[in-house]
Symmetry: D2
Subunit: 283 residues, 4 copies
């Protein structure tokens, strides 16, 4: 069993040696350690992957000790994850199929270590793809008047299926603060621009109008402020005057699916930590 520990706390001397000594004393072997100090914020971040010896059995007491002997002293926020069960990822989609196809193809190829209990949409358009891949599809349409009721249905599904995190695969709807608060830093969105440029609607149109020579896509965690959450991953591609808005959209599709899948993989591997509306992305 592989165990991943994520830690952040105020920076101070001796943390690395205290933690590594603790792990060693408690029969763990550190197979990976990466750390980062945000100097301006004076915050220490660390990600470790640990292998326990075969005779190790009591993860709960390990956790208690970690809290008592390290976390409470260094004022750590921390989490521990084992790889013995797959996280559950819900996909929210709209009418665009490229990110959905891409994620499901990777899922079918064994590239994503998750379960996908369902796909949810306010449109019926992509149901055939869910059917193709034999994944339940829930169609919850809504308009301005019944958005709150629709969200209740969404939340019910998320609860019922014990969803761990949500991927907005070109969902095209604004997610409510209520839903965000229930999945803090657990809703990933793909925005079709190089944020912070061209936040909001129709970024390719705005990029075309501005005459940029490079377009981008951004995977970020969703926060209450639109397109302003912590950035997980970005990538870009060149364009020229000869590209139309439609060309931007087509080229952008390839970016969006690549960038979203990279973000999803980083999240699954617990290589992301959020602090001050920014991410630390471990290697």
């Amino acid at each position: 069993m592989k165990t991943t520990i994520l830690v952040h706390c105020p920076d101070q001397g001796g943390i690395i040696s205290s933690v590594t000594a603790f792990i060693h004393k408690n029969k763990g072997n550190i197979v990976y350690l990466d750390q980062h100090v945000d100097k301006p914020a004076n915050v220490f971040f660390m990600r470790m992957v640990i292998e326990f010896s075969d005779t190790f059995s009591d993860l709960e007491s390990f956790k208690s000790l970690f809290q008592k002997e390290l976390a409470s002293i260094y004022k750590m926020e921390w989490s521990l994850h084992t790889d013995d069960k797959l996280p559950k990822m819900a996909l929210f989609v709209s009418k665009y199929n490229h990110c959905l196809y891409d994620l499901l193809s990777r899922y079918n190829s064994g590239e994503l270590a998750v379960k996908i209990p369902f796909i949810l949409s306010n449109h019926i358009d992509l149901k055939h793809i869910a059917d193709q891949f034999e994944i339940p599809f829930f169609h919850i349409p809504f308009n301005k008047t019944n958005k709150i009721e629709a969200e209740k249905e969404q939340l019910k599904l998320l609860n019922t299926y014990e969803i761990d995190f949500i991927v907005l695969a070109r969902y095209m709807q604004i997610v409510s603060g209520n839903l965000i608060s229930k999945f803090p830093n657990k809703i990933l969105n793909i925005h079709h621009s190089f944020l912070p440029a061209f936040a909001g609607a129709k970024p390719y149109h705005a990029a075309f109008k501005r005459g940029v020579k490079i377009i981008g896509a951004t995977c970020h965690y969703v926060t209450e402020e639109l397109d302003a959450g912590p950035i997980i991953e970005q990538d870009v591609t060149t364009v020229t005057h000869s590209h139309s808005i439609e060309d931007f959209i087509t080229k952008g599709r390839d970016l969006e699916k690549i960038v979203l899948s990279r973000g999803v993989k980083l999240h699954i591997a617990r290589k992301t930590m959020v602090y001050n509306n920014k991410t630390v992305i471990f290697s």
Copy 2:
């Protein structure tokens, strides 16, 4: 003698064949032709490189005929450039030396087909580099109260040396509307961000605060609206959480100098056309 013709006009049928027939009839051989139609704006753009036969001597009558038989009929704006004399480029700098070093190194290596009559700055800091490369350096300091007088001196120098275009190589000062109007689409600036993200001052600080994963640089023509002129060239490089603002600045320097030099070369080669605050960049 190599002759470059740039044309733009309302799009309509038959332009290419009319122009090429005209060139052929008037003893020119088209060695390069590239064209672009901006469909939403219905504008036709073309760049041609022509070699005239050795016996050709009367460029002035060629130009008169071009105006009469083509330009006036198709409502063209056009220009014709021969390569028999080098354009004169003035460099405006401040305290940062990387773009200046880069441009002067290229100049010394014969990479830039220009003359550099002078380098101008409101600071004395980079004079030693001008001296190193044996180029006149004019120090015109100013503050809020005497900016207008300083600009008069600048304009006098630009006139005296018959400057064709100006490169702001990290000049760090806002250029007045008056100066811009005298050099329309002839002042190139390098902005140290991926515009339109992070326009204005301290873009690396803003990028760091936002937690972007990619930083960029943009070469654009200067217009009255700050950092909003037609974009000539952009490029980007990746950053991570482990990079400090200082790292952003250091990595950015390499971007800035590469992007500025590419923009300058495109301008020198007359491969840029401006329309609707955007550029057409010919190959």
Copy 3:
């Protein structure tokens, strides 16, 4: 009806004006023209897109005239393509599904202007994907002793379905000279390295062993010499010492599918010309 004309011939003065005058005289409007001269080889290349007026009806006599008045004089090799019927593309696959999924997703999204009459493989593994997308799948297994018979079956299918070009979407088999000769510059392969580095088998293993910091993928036309045909498109991605061979393979999959799809699109749009084992790729 949009008509594309591709031309190459020995370079000489006056070609562009002769051709454009001919088009104009014969009621065509040139909406796109791009040309290239390979100076060392002294060869002229041109691609034009033409719209004929509504009253134009006789494409055959246009072609006869083009041959007589231009092609025979300038010693042109040329071809003319109309967009009124979709080219037929056969997919050859093996056991890797990522390129297949990617191409079929694009196909389903209307991104590829082709018909896909069938998918062919020597393995049965990917039949379920063909079924998912409701495309006929032909399983033609073979070994060293019956490879020639298998190819006969392949050729029969290619004939029966009137296939225009073949895409080897990680086919993993060497295609015979006989098959290549029947589809000259009409078989596209994706090689999982930045050619010419790491031609042949197991390029990711070789790249890992060499310790490169960048890996790539190459889409090229298949010729008799393995992995040495004209390159259509290449792209790369960075790797570090921390990436295992498996990481190379995973990262490479994303490259392969993007690069292959770009190559396929260029081929479909007739933006590729082959000369001296190199390609001219029009914009």
Copy 4:
């Protein structure tokens, strides 16, 4: 005083905690730790940056203890570096000036934490640049018959000036095994191709002939086998059919200087470790 420790040894459990405990016990605070395990080779690599408390004074006894309590037990090869004196870098050049200009500009800007005692060349062409930057220039011409004598002179200079490492900034000469053996993994070269493609002479010509769509540059440590040493850094740029060999060379120059300067900076910062003819590059 900042102290950097580099370690590699056979991989085994407990190394990280042993080392960090040792550092802590000996009054060091680990401000940076990065580690890597090459699984196929079963080798553990680690880089640490340590700050000792102000009262710490005895680095020699720290080193003795490190050797006794850690290195001898874990069979480590290790080195310790303090930042209180700048390493001495010799530049070997030929006739190409772009890498030299770039490195000297960075040096003058304070970007490179080194001393440059001299520039050496078998040609006199770049002496004026050394003069510009007021760095001693030694002209040691040679031909086939007196190469050994010339190398003796080189070695004498390297000794006299106590050179720590050598940068071949487009030196264009093969360095002898004798010289390499005196500077193992301490001679950096820039090769103007994306190695292992186009090793040897005239890589841009070879790339042009092959019709690649991307060209590259590679910074590597020099070993006896030509262009086959451990790769430190690579980068690439796109090219098209419209680029001539001269365009490749011009575009390549920008790559070469960027890639070489990155490699040099990594070496200076002691972020490189060599093993099995590959590099580990720490972040």
